[in-house]
Symmetry: C2
Subunit: 308 residues, 2 copies
C-alpha cells in the first residue's frame, strides 16, 4: 500500500494528507441545521452533519491530495451512528481515489491486536464468508505493548497489501514524559524507531516499508535524527499549522529522493473558513476555503523544500 | 466509580472480573447455527451469535461477580454490527448490576482523547441534548502519549463518576521491549506508575483512586513492587489462567486491607466448556461450565490469599 500512497503523492506533487477530524463546532450552521431537521438533535443527526461536512471537503479537495486521515475518536464519540459516519467517510473518500489512513491508534496483544488488524485492514471470517468491515488502507498503531502488539498487524498488512504508522514521537507537549526518557543514553523514541525499522523489514514495499512511523512536526530536531535512523520508513507528520509546526522545520523529514514524509493538517484545512485569512469564503462556502487552504499548504511545504 | 466497584467486590467476596472477549470459535455450535439461520453468515449473524453467547454467560455468573470486562477489539472486528453487540453486551451486564470495564485501550491527545473519554465514559452534546453513547464505567487507556492523553479522561471521570485503568506493565511476553527499559536505573513501567499515582490524586474515591492501573499476572515480582509504589491505585490484573498467571503469584497484588486488585480471566471462564476439566458440561451447557469456572477461580484466588 505504501507504493500506492507514494504514487499518488508523486502524481499530485503533494506530500500532504487532510485530517478529517470533524468537531461539531467546525461544522457550518447550515449543515447542522439541515441534519437536525431531518434526524433531530440525536446521534444520528450529529453523524449526518459530520458526514455531509466531510463529503463537501472531499469533493472540493480530492483532485489535489493523495490521502485523507479520518480520526476515529471524533466519530466514536457519537456512538454507533458516529462510527457509521466514519465508515461512510472512508468509503466515500476511497471512491474518490484517495488513500485512507485510519487514525485509530489501536494496539493490544496477540489475538486482540489481530482482531483490530482484521477489522480495520483485513477481512474477518464469518462461517464460509469474508468481510472487510472498515477497510482503511493504513491504520495508526500504539507501540507500548511491544512486538506482540505489532506482529498481528504486520501479518494482516502482508496478506492484504495494507500498512500501518506506528507512534514514535508524538506532536503533543507532554509527549516527552515517557517518549524522551533516556534508555542507555538515547531517548526511548529512538529505541521505538529501531524496532519500527526491524518490523518494517518484514513488510516492504518497493523502496519504502508498509510499516511507517508517526513523528510530530513540533519536534523538528528529533525529526531530523529519526529521518536518518529510519531510512526506509515513511513518516506521517502531525502537528503542522494549528499545533505550531512550520514548513521550514519539515524539510528534514524528507529523504534526498524527495519522499519519506507525508504531512497532516486537520483543523487548518477542514475549518479553514474560520480563519481570518479565509473568512471571505463564508461558512456556506467552507469547502472552497478548504480547497484554498490545501493549495496554500502544498505551496508552503513544497516551497520550503525547494529553498532547502 | 471505584467506590461502587469495591463495594461489589466486597459484597460478593470476589476480586475478579470476567473478560468478555468472544472469539467465534468459542461460541458453541448451536448458538452460531441459530444466529446464522436468522441473519445469514453476515456481520449481523456474527454479532448476534456473540451477543447471545455473552448473555448466557452473564445470566449464569452475574450473581457471583462484581464486573465484566468486554474487550472491544473482539466486537470491532465485526464492524458496526459487532460494535452494536458490544454496546448491547455492556447495557445488558449493567442491567444485571455489574460494573463495566471497557477494555478499549484508547489513547490520543487533547480534544481527541476528550472525544474518546466522552464517547465511552461521559456524555456527548448534540445541539441542546446529551447522550452517553457507550456508557462503560471504566475504560482502559494507553499512556504512551503522556499527561495530554490522560487529563481529558480524568476530567470526564470527575464529571461523571467514572474511572480508567492505565496500562503500566502488560501481561504479554514482549511487554518488556519498551516497558522494562531502564530510565535513571528504574524500569519505565515504574515511571508510568508514578505518573498514575499523580494522576490518581486528581480523581480520588473514598480510599482508592478512580485512576487505576493494569499490571499483568505474568510478572509477579514486578507486581509486588508496583503494589507498593501505587498504594491507592487499584490494579486490574490480566494474565491469570490461560496466559500462565497463578493465584499464589497474585497475593502481593493486594493491599493489607484485602483490596487493591481485581483479577481478570477471559478464555478460562467464557470458554471453560472447552477445557477437559469442564468438558462434562457439554457445549449446550457452556454457561454452566462458565459458572463453575467462576466459582473455582474465586476459591483459587481467595484460597491463595488466605494461605499467604
Amino acid at each position: 500500500m505504501i507504493n500506492e500512497l507514494i504514487q499518488k503523492i508523486e502524481k499530485k506533487d503533494a506530500p500532504i494528507v487532510v485530517g478529517l477530524d470533524p468537531m461539531m463546532n467546525y461544522v457550518p450552521e447550515h449543515i447542522q441545521k439541515k441534519a437536525f431537521e431531518e434526524f433531530g438533535e440525536t446521534l444520528e443527526g450529529a453523524a449526518e452533519a459530520i458526514y455531509v461536512y466531510n463529503k463537501g471537503i472531499i469533493d472540493a479537495t480530492y483532485d489535489l491530495i493523495p490521502a485523507v486521515k479520518p480520526q476515529i475518536a471524533m466519530y466514536e464519540q457519537f456512538g454507533i451512528p458516529g462510527l457509521m459516519a466514519y465508515q461512510k467517510t472512508c468509503a466515500y473518500a476511497k471512491e474518490k481515489g484517495l488513500v485512507i489512513i485510519g487514525d485509530v491508534k489501536r494496539g493490544d496483544i496477540g489475538s486482540t491486536s489481530a482482531a483490530y488488524a482484521v477489522g480495520h485492514l483485513g477481512k474477518v471470517t464469518v462461517g464460509g464468508k469474508q468481510y472487510a468491515p472498515f477497510d482503511e488502507d493504513f491504520a495508526t498503531v500504539n507501540p507500548y505493548l511491544g512486538t506482540d502488539g505489532i506482529q498481528p498487524f504486520i501479518d494482516v498488512c502482508n496478506e492484504n497489501n495494507k500498512g500501518i504508522f506506528v507512534l514514535v514521537k508524538t506532536s503533543n507537549p507532554s509527549s516527552g514524559e515517557f517518549q524522551d526518557q533516556l534508555v542507555d543514553g538515547k531517548p526511548l523514541y529512538e529505541l521505538v524507531a529501531k524496532k519500527v525499522v526491524e518490523w518494517g523489514e518484514k513488510c516492504m514495499g518497493d523502496v519504502y516499508s508498509n510499516i511507517g512511523s508517526v513523528v510530530g512536526a513540533t519536534y523538528p530536531e528529533m525529526g531530523k535524527v529519526l529521518r536518518k535512523l529510519m531510512p526506509k520508513t515513511y513518516i506521517l507528520v502531525p502537528g503542522y499549522g494549528a499545533q505550531g509546526g512550520k514548513a521550514e522545520d519539515l524539510v528534514h523529514y524528507f529523504n534526498a529522493d524527495g519522499l519519506g514524509a507525508i504531512v497532516n493538517s486537520s483543523r487548518g484545512i477542514i475549518a479553514a473558513y474560520k480563519q481570518e485569512k479565509y473568512a471571505g469564503f463564508g461558512s456556506e462556502n467552507y469547502a472552497d476555503a478548504s480547497r484554498q487552504a490545501v493549495i496554500d499548504m502544498i505551496a508552503d511545504i513544497n516551497g520550503a523544500r525547494a529553498k532547502a
